[in-house]
Symmetry: C2
Subunit: 217 residues, 2 copies
C-alpha cells in the first residue's frame, strides 16, 4: 500500500486512526485474517466503504480472501507516520496541556515530545514528564539547538496569534491546535490539525435532540 498522488478526502484520513485502533484490538484478540465485511462491522461503516477507503492508498487485501490483520495494521501505521520520530514542542502546560502530556503515547505515534513552554512564571523551571518547562522567551534559543517538527498548542485563542508567529519564525510548520485561531488562513503553507473540543459537546447536543442519528461515522 503506497500513497498515491491524488488528493485523499479528510474523512478517509480521519478514519485511519480508527482502522489502526480496530486492527490493534483484533491483533490482541488473536485474529490473524479479516474480511472487509468484518472490518466494516467493527468500524461501524459499510464493507464497500472499507474497500473504497483502503483503495485510496493503492488498495490492499485479496478478493475473496480479506486482509492479514498484522500487515494491514503495519501499513496503516506507516501511512500515519508512526515509523518516524517528529520532534514536538507543547505550548501551554495548563490542564489540557497536562492531560496531553500524560495521556498521549507520543513515541508510539511517531512523535517525540522534546520541549514544554509556558508563560506562567510559577511553572517555568519546574519539571513535568521528564522535561523542564521553559519560558516562552527561550523558544528562539531552543529552536537553534533543536529542529522542531511540530507544535501542540494548548493555549487560549487570545495568545495563539503571537505564539504561532514566533513558532513560524522559528521554522515550525506543523501544528496540533486546540484553540480557535485559524493558522492556515494566516500561514497557508502550514500543516494544521485543529481540535475544537467544545464542538463535541455541541454535536452531542444535536444528537440528544435528534436521536435517530448515531455518532462515530
Amino acid at each position: 500500500m503506497s500513497k498515491t498522488d491524488r488528493h485523499i478526502a479528510m474523512p478517509v484520513i480521519r478514519r485511519l486512526p480508527r482502522y489502526y485502533r480496530c486492527l490493534c484490538n483484533m491483533e490482541q484478540n488473536g485474529i490473524e485474517k479479516i474480511s472487509s465485511r468484518a472490518l466494516a462491522e467493527a468500524m461501524n461503516i459499510t464493507a464497500s466503504q472499507v474497500r473504497q477507503d483502503l483503495n485510496c492508498f493503492g488498495g490492499f487485501g485479496q478478493q475473496g480472501y480479506g486482509y492479514i490483520v498484522s500487515m494491514l495494521r503495519g501499513e496503516i501505521a506507516k501511512l500515519l507516520g508512526m515509523d518516524s520520530k517528529k520532534k514536538t514542542v507543547l505550548y501551554g502546560v495548563g490542564n489540557l496541556g497536562r492531560a496531553i502530556i500524560y495521556h498521549f503515547d507520543f513515541e508510539k505515534f511517531g512523535f517525540e515530545l522534546c520541549g514544554l513552554f509556558d508563560t506562567n512564571p510559577e511553572l517555568v523551571g519546574t519539571e513535568l514528564g521528564g522535561l523542564i518547562i521553559s519560558d516562552d522567551e527561550e523558544l528562539e534559543k531552543f529552536t537553534e539547538d533543536h529542529t522542531v517538527d511540530a507544535a501542540i498548542l494548548c493555549i487560549p485563542t487570545t495568545s495563539a496569534e503571537e505564539v504561532v508567529e514566533k513558532l513560524y519564525a522559528a521554522g515550525v510548520r506543523c501544528f496540533l491546535n486546540f484553540n480557535h485561531f485559524d493558522i492556515k488562513s494566516r500561514y497557508p503553507d502550514c500543516v494544521v490539525e485543529n481540535v475544537h473540543l467544545s464542538e463535541s459537546l455541541m454535536t452531542l447536543g444535536y444528537l440528544m435532540t435528534d436521536k435517530s442519528n448515531s455518532a462515530e461515522e
Copy 2:
C-alpha cells in the same frame, strides 16, 4: 428550518458547530447577510456543499439572495439544542476533566453542569467551578434527587465499563466519552459522542507525511 425525518450523515452534523462558530464571527463583525459562496469560503468547503448541508434541515436562504446571518445562526443553535438545559454530570476530575470544566461554556451550548464525580479520596468533598466533587458511590442518591440527562466521561478506559454500567442503571443514556470503551456496542439505545484525542495526533502524523492534504474539511 426544521429537522426532517431522513437520516443525516454525521459529517454534515459535525459541520454544524463550525457553521455556528463562523456565523457568530460574522455577526460580531457586523455582517448581516451572506451568500453561500462566502459562507463556503469561510468554512473552507464548496458553495454546493453549504447548500446541500443546509438543505438537509429543510433548506434555508433564498436563491440569489443568500442567508441572513443572525437568523441562520439562530436556527443552527436550535438544531444543536442550545435552547435547552440538559443536566449533565462529569466523571473524572483529573487534568482533562478540569480542562473541560474550566473551558466549556456549558450554558451557552444548552447544558447545565450539575455534578462532579471522582474516586480519588483527596478530591472528593473539595470544590471546583462552584460544585462539590462527589464520590462515585453517591451517584445513586444523586440521580434520585436530580434528573441527569448526560454524562461526560473523563476517566480511563479501564474504569469506563463500571462507570457506564452505574450511569446506565441510573437512567443516563447520553454520553460525551473521552475513552476507548465502546458504549454503543454494549448499550445500543445510548446517544454517544466519542472523542479520541490521540487520533488528532495520528491525523497530524498522516498530514505531516502527506503534505498535499490539508486539514479541517
